[in-house]
């Protein structure tokens, strides 16, 4: 199942399609001032894309994610973000996001605006954006101070006489960057494991960059149509980037690099150490292949899971 790590020839062979390098995808589809969603709940987090955005020194991005996680901590530290739209600002299982906290508490390296929801609120925002609804209703926020902190959280009276319900407005990012296990060259994308809000963010965004572990034939996709959560119809670019989600994980391909998440705590507490880390691991490496080379095969091998193949299903041929 595992594709070779440093072989990028597949991309080069298929460049008449949406396939392109991460550098090209970010250059073409992420502009200064854009609202950007790099999603993935614990899994599928697009670190390779984030690092390329940092290298290309994009400015004043509004970054959306349920959990800004290390990926936005690094982007905020690099100064590419002007605003965060989020619901949980932590290093999951470890503690704080120190770079984001420095930006919020001390305007370092620059001030940052925050627009804050709960998880369900963020999910509802993507859902409304994806389905062209003026709002999405959810049972939350009553009795909380969140609506006072964010006046985009409002309430609607039900026309059936059964009370009030909170609503959130649509979120339609300019660009969504979504990692998955596999896609074809048109961007028809299949993922399994934690589905998060990958589908909703893709449908909500104006432009979609898909980053995958493997590029497969269209016939592979069409052998399991229920698994295709994102159609090529809404995809602008397909980037083959094995291990592109490291230090987060991809179900069935590699484990989360928990040691990295732990180590980031002490790196990120210190602005100088953070800057040095960005220099060494982002600015000084041209692309993800070089990052992986630097990381080393041993580290990658240690993240390889055992095999657990899904029970087969028969769709049947009806001709």
């Amino acid at each position: 199942m595992m594709a070779p790590v440093f072989d990028l020839t597949q991309n080069q062979k298929m460049n008449t399609t949406k396939l392109c390098s991460m550098k090209e995808a970010v250059d073409r589809y992420v502009a200064d001032g854009n609202t950007v969603a790099i999603e993935g709940f614990t899994a599928f987090i697009g670190f390779a894309a984030a690092h390329e955005i940092i290298r290309q020194k994009k400015q004043d991005l509004t970054l959306c994610r349920l959990t800004p996680d290390l990926v936005y901590d690094q982007m905020v530290a690099a100064g590419v973000a002007g605003k965060l739209i989020f619901s949980y600002l932590g290093n999951p299982g470890v503690g704080s996001l120190h770079c984001v906290r420095r930006a919020v508490e001390k305007s370092y390296p620059r001030p940052i605006a925050v627009e804050e929801y709960s998880h369900f609120g963020m999910v509802g925002r993507y859902l409304a954006g994806a389905s062209n609804l003026p709002f999405f209703p959810l049972r939350s926020y009553a009795g909380s101070d969140l609506p006072a902190a964010n006046d985009r959280i409002r309430f609607v009276e039900s026309p059936y006489g059964n009370g009030q319900i909170a609503v959130v407005p649509p979120l339609k990012p300019d660009v969504a960057i979504l990692h998955a296990q596999r896609a074809d060259a048109h961007g028809n994308t299949q993922l399994w494991g934690l589905l998060g809000v990958q589908k909703e963010a893709a449908f909500a965004a104006e432009k979609v960059i898909i980053v995958v572990e493997e590029v497969v034939d269209e016939t592979t996709i069409r052998r399991d149509p229920n698994r295709t959560l994102i159609p090529g119809l809404i995809v602008d670019a397909v980037v083959r980037e094995p291990y592109g989600a490291h230090p987060s994980y991809v179900q069935g391909y590699y484990d989360r690099d928990n040691a990295f998440y732990l180590a980031w705590d002490s790196v990120s507490r210190d602005p100088d150490k953070t800057a040095a880390w960005l220099q060494e691991w982002v600015y000084d490496v041209p692309d993800r292949a070089s990052y992986l080379e630097k990381l080393g095969l041993e580290r990658l091998a240690s993240l390889e899971p055992g095999e657990l193949i899904a029970e087969p299903v028969n769709y049947g041929r009806y001709a």
Binding site: T42, R139, A142, Q164
Partner: protein
């Protein structure tokens, strides 16, 4: 057998899960508590994670609520939209475990900010799923260390509704879930009084007194007429925590 304050909390939460069928699990102590309950008195307890998992069967201690070990061998893995809409809002979660940086006498929780919202002294993680979990779960068990700066007269920010301004507050706002039932700490256990909705001291850890607990709480504490001693962890529970659930001692 000796035990740590964390172990006392884990075991307290595990025991409080007796009778629950579906529990919404957070990472860390709550996660160990839920897995301990499954391995002792509640083998059919279904673990739900906001990452989209129903019926997790983790083969190792998950280090986050999105750990891949929660997916493999789970009964179902859904989108977060389905998890929040169908499972949580749909009323299928009977118990949730929550914590916070601050709690008030009615079990309202702050996980957002210390200081003013617009000019934070400490910026905390925020709601995550807590606000909707607190609104919709059948009952909420709160797990927090007892500290005066956490048990406060007034929250800096209400992230997640408890009993609001007292019993009846939730019904007035139409909240679907029952709200906080217990606060499990490392030094005492509190229940919420049905009449007033107020946190009430009902159990204290061995070695503690009512006065030693009151000194860590920022308001004049309601005290049950029959405060008893918390039952310490038994040997089997400690063995399971130490050898099966947290062999590396990350959470002790």
């Amino acid at each position: 057998m000796k035990y740590t304050p964390s172990e006392l909390m884990i075991v307290g939460a595990s025991r409080a899960l007796l009778g629950s069928r579906v529990v919404f699990v957070g990472v860390g102590l709550p996660n160990i508590a839920c897995n301990l309950a499954r391995r002792s008195h509640s083998p059919d307890l279904e673990l739900v994670y906001e990452s989209g998992i129903f019926g997790a069967h983790p083969a190792r201690l998950p280090l986050s609520i999105g750990d891949p070990t929660l997916v493999s061998d789970a009964t179902s893995a859904t989108s977060m939209a389905d998890l929040f809409m169908l499972y949580l809002q749909g009323g299928l979660v009977d118990t949730a475990l929550l914590g916070g940086a601050q709690i008030d006498r009615f079990g309202n929780l702050n996980t957002t900010v210390i200081g003013e919202y617009g000019k934070p002294k400490v910026r905390l993680p925020g709601s995550g799923g807590a606000c909707e979990i607190a609104s919709n779960a059948g009952q909420v068990l709160i797990i927090m260390r007892l500290k005066r700066r956490a048990f406060v007269e007034e929250l800096d920010f209400v992230t997640s509704p408890g009993h609001l301004d007292g019993a009846g507050g939730r019904a007035r706002l139409g909240l679907a879930g029952g709200g906080p039932k217990l606060v499990i700490t490392d030094r005492a256990l509190f229940r919420f009084d049905d009449q007033s909705g107020e946190m009430t001291l009902t159990e204290i850890a061995p070695g503690e007194s009512i006065a030693s607990i009151q000194s860590e709480v920022g308001w004049s504490l309601r005290i049950a007429s029959d405060v008893v001693e918390m039952k310490p962890p038994d040997e089997q529970e400690l063995q399971r925590i130490r050898h099966e659930l947290d062999p590396e001692g990350l959470y002790r």
